[in-house]
Symmetry: C2
Subunit: 392 residues, 2 copies
């Protein structure tokens, strides 16, 4: 016989899932009602409105996809790209590579514009590619690369895409709710995110938003969308406006309660205040990390507050440190991905995790564990450096 | 400002989501931990083992897909079907039609074998189609048609498929945990289900299982699987055995807690006992429905215990009755789908909802509401007929 599973209470400071606000866990446990229940349909409308606020958009097609962020990415590509289309992808980490996979699986051609891992996407390189590939129909890139913690200038890249008559598709999985993002003002055509990052909600849903221009492209498609589950024309029959909702798939009712509560919390705090909170806690963490003697992968100017990639000191065993943090402090930080595996740690300050007690715990624990493992760190300086930042 | 959402406590006796066992809601609210946390990976292994029990299979590739049942359906088709493949689909309700959509979106040809809505799939018709289309690579059908409440003889159809060298793909969304299902003994090659039916878990995940023969087909594919999110070769890197799990997508951690608990409850009860409980409560409901003077859509022999399609009496307003049940009794029953809209109600007895108090509530409420609306029913007989069945 298998026993019920009782997870420990961890502090989640990796690349996501992030710490969950207890209000969100409570919301998730509320009674399940039918996915066509009038009260549920009313809640869905509120979720759409709250997502419009989080994305800073009035796009009518702003909904959560009933699956994780990678399905949100797939939703953008399968609806917007047709066989034979060329898409220019700016890649500076793991997730640009996943975009390429998606474009090719749609029968499209991906033109890759590479920047180093840890660097922002370079506008000039994108413009060169746009000149070289005038047939391109879309440009895609990641605002906040979760694999490295680098931020890319969305507005500049979107403007470039539009100047060459391309749609702009943006990955905002790690940015939504954590750093400045203005879908309408920046004229983004298609965007997807995840719930488990700076919304600090449970993982499993992917908020997306599409501009009217993107919707027009979808409506004028010559070929059928290859995914039934992610076909927006069908999904919209359920999420669309009015009281008449057509059954498409069974919505993940309780996960949507959780997302609703996460978005209510964000609205209560105010989007700009949430961005400022992420910045403040990042500054405190940064002061502590630097006081320890560790360094960041990403140059200051392009560093994301919510995802801090820190170089592992020479000779220190990555896994041993993370295991000690997990076992002795119930603290999760992230490993490096791909070429950065074993070379960096990724410390998340996302959503509910972006707060003073988490920063202090993380710095105290790193200080003790690294000292214990004879790493070349300045013992005992990190916490006070962070506190000095909060006191400013 | 938007307020937190507090849903009412409904009794869910529609086509799903079904009533949630309170133990499952509690499990869902437990602390989120990382999707690569060793304790989480251990729980994932338990989920796989418990799903093998629920499916009665030793298939290694037995996992929950991180999205609802329709994504589980899509997962089966995108992994097994290649462009140019012919698939024979037995359709006797809504979900066979959805299979056709999936096959065509994979670039395959769907040969449809139609049976009337409310009838089981007819083996002779399938055999005729298999003879006529020797190039077919797979046969697909629904074990428990949620749109009509009819049960189809899986073993016979699977045997036929194999005799003509086809894979057998089975939709078990509404059957898993509710009626007899033996994946290994019946030699099913690919099967998908949902969490929100007879497992009475929250909606949002889709358990799937694939035989070795199906896995071999996937491994020998000539074309790339068109979905990145649902590509089993990639998904298996995360759900595969051993302690080394590769990140694919972020698993819906809390939804998996819920599924784990639902499966623990099923194991505690015992699968055969769960099937017997569904049958018993169906018999009691049936006695009550017939005592009221209402009739079933599906002939007795092929009737599913967990989904009862009942003909709406002449002149009675479908929506008015369902609204009265919802508002006056907090009771949800389902509407008809497609050609059955307005003609039938679908009363679910799934998982935790398959119990005596639900049956008695449903019959009492229907009795009162139908009498109030001057329907030609035998007032006051239903509950005692049900109780007599329980007393046998």
């Amino acid at each position: 016989m298998t026993s019920s599973f009782y997870p420990p209470q961890r502090t989640l400071m990796g690349p996501g899932p992030s710490d969950i606000n207890p209000r969100i866990s409570s919301a998730m446990a509320r009674p399940t009602i039918g996915h066509l229940d009038p009260l549920f349909v009313g809640m869905m409308d509120e979720v759409k409105g709250l997502l419009q606020y989080a994305f800073q958009t009035s796009n009518e097609l702003t909904i959560p996809i009933s699956a994780p962020g990678s399905a949100g990415m797939e939703c953008c590509f399968v609806n917007l790209i047709e066989p034979g289309d060329t898409v220019i992808i700016c890649q500076n980490g793991v997730f640009g590579g996943r975009m390429k996979e998606n474009v090719e699986r749609c029968g499209g051609t991906a033109v890759m514009v590479h920047d180093q891992w840890g660097s922002a996407c370079e506008p000039q390189k994108l413009e060169d590619a746009l000149k070289l590939h005038p047939q391109a129909v879309a440009v895609a890139f990641v605002q906040a690369e979760t694999s490295t913690g680098v931020s890319t200038d969305v507005k500049t890249l979107v403007d470039l895409a539009h100047r060459y008559d391309c749609l702009a598709i943006v990955d905002a999985v790690t940015s939504l709710g954590g750093t400045e993002l203005r879908v309408d003002e920046w004229k983004i055509d298609a965007i997807y995110s995840g719930t488990q990052k700076c919304l600090s909600c449970t993982p499993g849903l992917s908020p997306v938003s599409f501009s009217q221009r993107a919707v027009d492209v979808i409506k004028k498609r010559k070929s059928t969308v290859q995914s039934w589950f992610l076909n927006l024309n069908l999904v919209m029959g359920y999420w669309g406006s009015g009281s008449k909702r057509a059954y498409h798939h069974t919505a993940p009712v309780n996960a949507l309660y959780a997302l609703h509560e996460a978005l209510v919390i964000l609205e209560e705090e105010g989007l700009e205040n949430a961005w400022a909170r992420h910045a403040l806690n990042h500054n405190a963490l940064k002061a502590g990390i630097e006081a320890l003697g560790l360094s960041f992968v990403v140059p200051q100017a392009n560093r994301l507050p919510q995802l801090n990639a820190v170089t592992i000191p020479e000779g220190i065993d990555d896994a041993a440190v993370r295991t000690a943090l997990l076992n002795d402090y119930n603290l999760e930080i992230g490993a490096g991905l791909g070429p950065m595996a074993g070379k960096v740690w990724r410390i998340g300050l996302m959503g509910y995790a972006a707060r003073k007690d988490n920063v202090l715990l993380c710095l105290s624990a790193l200080d003790e564990v690294l000292t214990r493992m004879h790493a070349p760190v300045n013992q005992g300086k990190a916490v006070s450096a962070a506190l000095a930042t909060y006191a400013q």
